[in-house]
Every structure is written in structure tokens, then in C-alpha cells.
Symmetry: C2
Subunit: 398 residues, 2 copies
């Protein structure tokens, strides 16, 4: 039997999805599993999007252009314009989810062995995509006790080597929920300029900012040739399944290279583009409702999470995740145990062990990432389940 | 300004799509362009698929499992069973088109620098995906004068080095239209076994076999642990745009590695899966009609193509492409000229220069790849346009 590749072995399992077989087993036993592990909003997608899908008149489900339909790119351009960012449709390449935009950015801007700096904890799939692209991840560490604030410029400088090619930032951040301040972003801009790096800015959560600080896009920092923007309609319109994202760059060399990778996979999903395009204009009321709902969820969830003995979570300023530290030594073991052994009235919770969001071994071992994407009633039940599970787990294990 | 990556520069432009801006210009001048360049069938998708999309009742367009919906995998399993191949749903991973299945196979089975052997001319995006995955392509050459028959075992043996990890075959083949015989496949099997290689078998055109030889799947060769099957609903159901393919392997290590790459991109497209699932069962009459239509197109197109002075095309036994040699020195220049300068009654044709389907520089320079995916009337007009264009081009250039 031939051997699989070293990178196939090195590829990490998704901390968000790797426990899925255990949750599947629990469900097949009739157990209700509350999913705090994945940023899959329970909110409906915009009615306009569903209507657009239901009323397709085309008879052939044909390829679209590799860069996505022009009408979708124009709608995205109008959306950015409403945010005060001028992005012509020619600078937008539609991708198969934000995931593909990340992979394309890595492939087009970094060669195998090149280094990219990420702030850990970071979105776990960044690390996976880096393995797929053969690039090296170096990290600067943000800390739960500092509410995952951006590490100092000194720490970035220390991480930079001659092989450093890019910095990747998620703002507001998944998993920490941090909104980076203007000062932090300006410091980052200076580093990017000084070392002539790429700045990949994943801004898929820009609608979900709960603090009073304004959100600042990386495209507003005056380093436009260095910036590659990663975007997605997944979270904004509760459309994770349609796999529509975008890669945006003012740098024509970057776009030309990305287009070649885009051509190699032919086109982004046709039906998803139809849903996405219908979601962009005239959905302001929908977006406001979603925002209010998430803010209420955050306020409720974080307050009650911090009331569980031994649990600590900073108050996230954006996105819809938090990283919480738990009174356990090994959060992954606890997460597994919740799925295999803990039942309260035939219900349990699924969480993502946070260690998979860190690169430095040992960091985040007692932490979990929680997505507050359920309604307040369900979140209340999750708090109850978590409190009970911790008590039972610790009574067995001590 | 930071530099893009070396692989971003090395990445080839798709020969199928790189002339798209020229065809866009022609269209904006009111010129009708007949597309022979791309395997985008004009046939309708199955009505059942369109109905399924139009009648979705879900209100949230949520993530699907990374391996695809179980119901879709079960439908695929039934489909293979009807073909006489026993593939349980657990051995099927749904991918974002066949394209992603190819990329996943490369990433999971080969490391950067590892070598893969392809038969050239080959589907151009194989070469692009190899650049994306950082693997080395070595080729054995099939020849137009031999109707692109499989090169001899000796030629494969000569191409094998200690770095060789896999062989990739497309059967029936794009672009040559070759159906590989039982003897040829058994010879290939012996080589795969002897050197313990992976055999990636792209069988997306298995429905389109026009000769009397039976189609033999790589999974029927008795080397199941070595085989990775690449599949797609794109061509079978005229659903190229929905981006639903599959990677199938009996090798649990391969599946485990592929699943990690699949998790990193979260999930295949939700809406496409709905369309694909609805297409699989109870569409036998649809498939028969499509087959008869393509067979009629092939018979008509190849006969008339060979009547144009100086043009030669072997008779393809499968798929819906052919490679034709033209009485020109530089087919790419001729293809460009057709889009920029040739007009007959405000109409022209777009073809894919075949050089982009070869790896060895210089091969295929006077050849084009033609997809006979238009109706017979339009194909007749294409023949007329090609004959006139060749005459005019050669009268100017000689």
C-alpha cells in the first residue's frame, strides 16, 4: 500500500469539527447536542436570498466566470461603498467561501517555506490552510487576561525574519472576539510598511462590532498595495452553506496570480452566487435585527458564563465567539467527555477545544472556544449544562 | 510593493479560459461567439434537479458536513452500484467539483517535489493544480496520429524515478477523447502494483463512451488500496456550475488525510448538493437522451471537421472533446486572431489552444482542443466559420 504524504499526516484535524463523530454517536442515542463548537448561526438567511434561489428560471446550471458573476461583484462593490470603502468590481474576485480566499492569498503571495505571522489564538483553519500551502506559521501570542489585545509592535518585530512575507489578522477576531483599535492597526501598518509585507485582513465579522469603537478596514490604512482583504457572506447573512466569499486586492500582480488559481478550479458555486447577490442590497433591516440579536446573546452569555465557578471569559467586542478558560486541566478531554459521557435530561453540549486555535504547544489547554450562535433560551440551557458538566467531571476526576 | 510568490508566477493561465477577455471584447462589439473552448454543455440540467432547488423549504442556508450530506453520498453509492461497483457511502467524500477532488488527492498523497506521471496532452487544470500543490509533473506522450492511445508500459517505466508517487489518468480522456482498453488498463495496473504507486483515475466522462468497448473503472482493477477515484456530476447532468464532485478511496489512510483538507474548507456547497442529489436516481431517460445527443454531435462534428482542408481529428471514443491539428504554425495566434479580427456575418468561434494541454514545450503548437457541446446546427456553423477563418488567416499570413 503506498504511503500518504507527510503533509497529509501533518495536517491538523479541525478542532471545530474533529469531535463531530462523537456528537454523531450521542445524537444517534437520542441525545440532544447543543452546538457551541461551530459558528453556524441559527438565524434565518434573508428571505430575499431564499426567494432568489426558489425562483431561478435558468434551465442549465452552467459554469460562471472564474472571478464570479459581474452582477455579484457590482453588488459587493455597492456594499463596500456604503461602508465608505471604494472598491470597484474589477478588484473583487469571488471565491468558494472565505476559506478559498485564504488559500488563494497564501498560494499567490507566499512560497513554500515563506513565513506568515499570525496572532494566536487564531482561527484554526488558518493553520490548516498554511499546511496545505506549505508555508510556515510564526505567531505572536495574545492573552486571555488582556482580552486578547494585539501584541506589541516589539513582539511582531521579534517574530519577523528574512523569510517573513505576510501578516494575517482577523478583525474583529475569531476566536477571541477582539476588535483591534485604530492605534493598534496603525502600529501594524508601520510594521507592514517598514518590512514591505503583505497584510491579509480577514474582515468577515465586520458587521458584528458591539463596542463603541469604530471598525477600521485594513483597506483604510494607506497601504493598499500590501493589503489582501478576505471576505465572506457566510456570517453576515447566515449563509455559511452557500460557500461564497471574496478576495479583494488593489495590487494588480496579486489579482493576476489569484485569477490563475481561480481559473484552475473553474468557477465559484453558481447557486450560492445567486443567493449571495440577492442578500446584499435592501437587507439593512435584516442586518440590524441580526446585530441586535447577537448583542443580546453576547451580553447574556458572557455574563452568565463568568458566573460559573472557575470559568473566565473576557467580554468580546466583536464577532460571535469567545474563548473561555475552564477549571479543568485538559479542555479537550472535557469536551470529549461531555459528548461521550455527560447527559442531563438527555442533553449535552459540544464545544471546540481551544488548544487547536493556538500554535504554541501547551497554550490554551484549559480553554474552549464557544460560539454564541444559539438563541438566548438555548444559551441559558448551555450555561446550565456547562455548569453541571464541570461539577460532575471534576467530582469524578478529583 | 511586496512581490507575489514564485508559484503565483509559475502558475499557468488556463488555456480554456485565458482568451476570455478577447471573447468578452468581441461580444461587447455585438459579435456572436461560438464557444468550442470549454466543456460547458448547452443541454438542460435534469428537471428534477431544478425542481429540488426551486422547492427548498429550509430557512437557513447552513454548513453541511465536510464530507457532504449522507443522503447525497448514499445516492452516489446507489449510482455506483448500478454501474456494478460496490462503494459504500463511507468511502465517498463530496468535494467542490472534481477540481477540488484533484487538489485533495495531490495534497493527501504527494509531498512537494514528489513526482506524478500524466499522459499528455492532459486536462490543463491538472498541471495548474500540480503547481498549486507543489508537485512535479512528468509526462508520457500520447500522439494524435495514434488517436492518443495509452503510451506503452516501457514509456511509463522510463518516466518512473524514486520520487514517483502517483499516476493520473483521465478515462475516457479529456482532451483526447480516448477510451482506454482493458489491456491498456491492465498494463497500467501492473506498473502501479510493481512500484506501489497511487493511481488517480478521473472518470467524470464515464457515461460518454461511444465505441463498443466497455468502460472499465480503475476500481475494478484489483488495486483498490492504490486507487483514488475522481468524480463529478458536472458533465453527467449538465451541472458544471453547482461545483459538486467526489473523491472516492478504499484506502482509509487516504480518506483520513483528505478529510482533514476537507474540514479546513468547512463544507462543499449546500445548494449544489441538493441539485446533485436530485439528479442521481430516476434520470435514466435523461442520461440516454444526453448520450444520444452527444453521439450525434460527435459523428457530425468529427466527420465535417476532417473535411476542412488541412484539418485532422481522430474520432474520439468518449467524453465530448477532440484535439484537432490545423494547417497553421501557431494555433494560439490563430485562436486569438479568430476572436480579435475574424468576423463572418458578425460571428466567430472561440477554441482552446492545445499547447496548454501539453507539458513538453513545442508539442501541440498546431493543435486546438474543441468541445462539441453545442447543438448540431451550431456545430455546422462552427465548421463553416473554422473553414473560412483558416482560409482568411492563411491568405493573410502567407
Amino acid at each position: 500500500m503506498p504511503d500518504i504524504s507527510k503533509r497529509g499526516i501533518a495536517m491538523p484535524s479541525s478542532p471545530i469539527r474533529k469531535l463531530a463523530p462523537l456528537s454523531g454517536n450521542a445524537k444517534s442515542q437520542g441525545v440532544k447536542v447543543y452546538h457551541l463548537n461551530i459558528g453556524q448561526p441559527d438565524l434565518p438567511s434573508p428571505k430575499k436570498a431564499l426567494d432568489a434561489v426558489r425562483s431561478i428560471t435558468r434551465t442549465t446550471l452552467e459554469y460562471s466566470p472564474s472571478e464570479g458573476y459581474q452582477s455579484l461583484r457590482e453588488a459587493l462593490s455597492r456594499y463596500y461603498s456604503r461602508l465608505g470603502i471604494d472598491i470597484p468590481q474589477q478588484e473583487i474576485i469571488v471565491t468558494t467561501g472565505g476559506s478559498e480566499a485564504i488559500l488563494f492569498a497564501f498560494l499567490a503571495c507566499l512560497d513554500p517555506g515563506d513565513e506568515i505571522i499570525m496572532v494566536e489564538p487564531c482561527y484554526a483553519n488558518y493553520i490548516s490552510m498554511a499546511v496545505a500551502a506549505g508555508i510556515k506559521v510564526k505567531t505572536v501570542v495574545s492573552r486571555i487576561e488582556d482580552s486578547f489585545a494585539l501584541p506589541s509592535p516589539d513582539e511582531f518585530e521579534k517574530a519577523i525574519t528574512p523569510a517573513t512575507t505576510a501578516i494575517l489578522l482577523c478583525n474583529p477576531s475569531n476566536p477571541g472576539g477582539t476588535l483591534y483599535t485604530k492605534d493598534e492597526l496603525y502600529q501594524l501598518r508601520d510594521i507592514v510598511k517598514k518590512h514591505q509585507l503583505f497584510l491579509f485582513s480577514d474582515e468577515v465579522y465586520r458587521e458584528f462590532v458591539y463596542s463603541n469603537e469604530p471598525f477600521l478596514s485594513a483597506l483604510s490604512l494607506g497601504i493598499e498595495q500590501n493589503v489582501v482583504l478576505i471576505d465572506s457572506v457566510s456570517k453576515r447573512y447566515s449563509e455559511c452553506g452557500i460557500r461564497i466569499g471574496a478576495l479583494i486586492s488593489r495590487n494588480p500582480q496579486v489579482r493576476a496570480a489569484v485569477m490563475k488559481f481561480a481559473q484552475a478550479r473553474l468557477s465559484p458555486p453558481l447557486l450560492g452566487q445567486i443567493a449571495a447577490e440577492a442578500s446584499i442590497d435592501g437587507t439593512e433591516a435584516y442586518s440590524r435585527e441580526c446585530f441586535n440579536e447577537y448583542k443580546a446573546r453576547r451580553d447574556f452569555f458572557i455574563e452568565h458564563l463568568n458566573k460559573i465557578p472557575g470559568v473566565f471569559s473576557p467580554k468580546p467586542e466583536g464577532a460571535f465567539y469567545t474563548i473561555a478558560s475552564l477549571p479543568v486541566d485538559d479542555a479537550e478531554d472535557f469536551c470529549r467527555w461531555c459528548l461521550t459521557s455527560f447527559r442531563d435530561n438527555m442533553e449535552t453540549i459540544m464545544m471546540a477545544p481551544a488548544a487547536g486555535f493556538y500554535c504554541t504547544p501547551g497554550l490554551g489547554r484549559n480553554q474552549v472556544r464557544l460560539a454564541y450562535v444559539l438563541n438566548v433560551k438555548d444559551l441559558g440551557r448551555c450555561i446550565e449544562l456547562l455548569a453541571k458538566a464541570l461539577e460532575e467531571y471534576n467530582s469524578i476526576n478529583r
